[in-house]
C-alpha cells in the first residue's frame, strides 16, 4: 500500500488562501466594514479593525450595536460557506484557477439571528470565531463569539439559523 505523495505546502496554501480571498472580497458589505479573515488550517478568525465609522455612541465612545451584529453575522456566514466549499476545494471539484465570486456557490441565507450584547464594544480591534453546531442538507445552526482584548471576555455572542445553498449535482 502506498499513499499519494502529499501536495507541496505552497500549493495547498495558495489554493486555500485564494478561495478564502475570493469568498470575502466578493461581498461589498464585508469590504465596507473592513472585516478581514485569518486562516489556520480550516479554522477562521474574523478581524474587525477599528475605525471611527463603527462608533455608535460617541460620548463613551462605544462600537455601534449594528456594527457588532453585522460583524458576527458576517463571521457566521463566511465560516459556514467556507465549510460548505472545503471538500470541493480540496478534491478539485471546484475549479480554483481564476476564481471569481460568481464561480463560488451561493451564500447561506440567514433565517434568524439573535445577538447577546455582553459588554460595550471598545474603540479597538475586534475578533470573532464561529462554531457550526449543526449543518444539514438544508439548514444550519451557528454560534459566534466576539472578543477584543481577552479571548475569555466576550463583548458579544450570537446564534443564527441559515438556509444552505443547493449542492450542485
Amino acid at each position: 500500500m502506498s499513499r499519494p505523495r502529499p501536495e507541496p505546502v505552497q500549493v495547498i496554501k495558495q489554493r486555500r488562501d485564494g478561495v478564502l480571498r475570493a469568498l470575502v472580497e466578493g461581498v461589498p458589505y464585508i469590504q465596507f466594514l473592513g472585516i478581514e479573515f485569518e486562516r489556520r488550517g480550516n479554522e477562521l478568525t474574523a478581524v474587525l479593525p477599528f475605525k471611527d465609522e463603527l462608533i455608535g455612541n460617541p460620548l463613551l465612545p462605544a462600537l455601534h450595536g449594528g456594527a457588532t451584529s453585522a460583524f458576527l453575522e458576517v463571521t457566521a456566514i463566511i465560516t459556514l460557506s467556507w465549510a460548505f466549499i472545503w471538500e470541493d476545494m480540496e478534491s478539485g471539484a471546484l475549479d480554483v484557477t481564476n476564481l471569481t465570486p460568481d464561480k463560488l456557490p451561493r451564500l447561506p441565507k440567514t433565517i434568524d439571528f439573535t445577538v447577546d450584547y455582553l459588554r460595550s464594544g471598545l474603540p479597538r480591534d475586534g475578533y470573532a470565531r464561529a462554531r457550526i453546531n449543526r449543518s444539514g442538507r438544508r439548514y444550519a445552526s451557528v454560534h459566534v463569539e466576539a472578543w477584543q482584548d481577552h479571548r475569555e471576555k466576550l463583548y458579544a455572542q450570537a446564534t443564527g439559523h441559515f438556509v444552505m445553498p443547493n449542492r450542485q449535482a
Binding site: P28, Y29, I30
Partner: protein, 140 residues
C-alpha cells in the same frame, strides 16, 4: 417636535456608524421611531443578486430600536442593547429603500422592551421583524 425629541434626533443623526450607512431619521415620537436606509452598492451582502446584507438590516433595526427607547416618555438618559433577535422573512428588493419602524412598548426602571419591523418599497409585505431588550440608564 419638543426639545427632548430634537436632541434625540440630533444625537441619532450624529452616530458615526449610522451616518456611514446613510440612515435617515423619518419620524420620532413618544416611543416610536421610523428610520430609513437608501439602497447603496456598498451594503450588498449577496454579490449574485445585489441583495443588501443582513448586517445592514440589523444595524438599521438596532438604531431604530435604540431611538424608540430614547424617545419614550419615561425619559431615559441613555440606552444600550442587551439582546436583539432578527427574523429575515424575505430578501429586500435590490435598489429599494428599507424603512424600519420600532416601538418601545414597555419600560421598567432598568429595561426597555422593543419590537420593530422592516419594509422595502413594496410596503405590503415585511422584509424582517425584530424584538429586543435595552438597558435604561437613569439621569445622573
Amino acid at each position: 417636535m419638543n426639545d427632548k425629541n430634537k436632541m434625540a434626533r440630533q444625537f441619532i443623526e450624529a452616530l458615526p456608524h449610522s451616518r456611514a450607512l446613510g440612515m435617515v431619521l423619518e419620524e420620532l415620537d413618544a416611543g416610536t421611531a421610523v428610520i430609513s436606509l437608501p439602497y447603496d452598492e456598498k451594503l450588498i451582502g449577496d454579490p449574485k443578486t445585489g441583495v443588501v446584507h443582513g448586517g445592514a438590516v440589523s444595524a438599521l433595526m438596532d438604531t431604530s430600536c435604540g431611538a424608540a427607547v430614547m424617545s419614550h416618555p419615561s425619559n431615559p438618559h441613555g440606552t444600550a442593547t442587551i439582546d436583539l433577535r432578527i427574523e429575515y422573512l424575505r430578501a429586500a428588493t435590490p435598489g429599494q429603500r428599507i424603512t424600519t419602524k420600532a416601538t418601545c412598548y414597555h419600560v421598567t426602571r432598568s429595561v426597555a422592551f422593543v419590537r420593530a419591523t422592516a419594509r422595502d418599497e413594496e410596503a405590503e409585505s415585511l422584509v424582517a421583524t425584530a424584538t429586543g431588550t435595552f438597558t435604561v440608564e437613569a439621569q445622573r
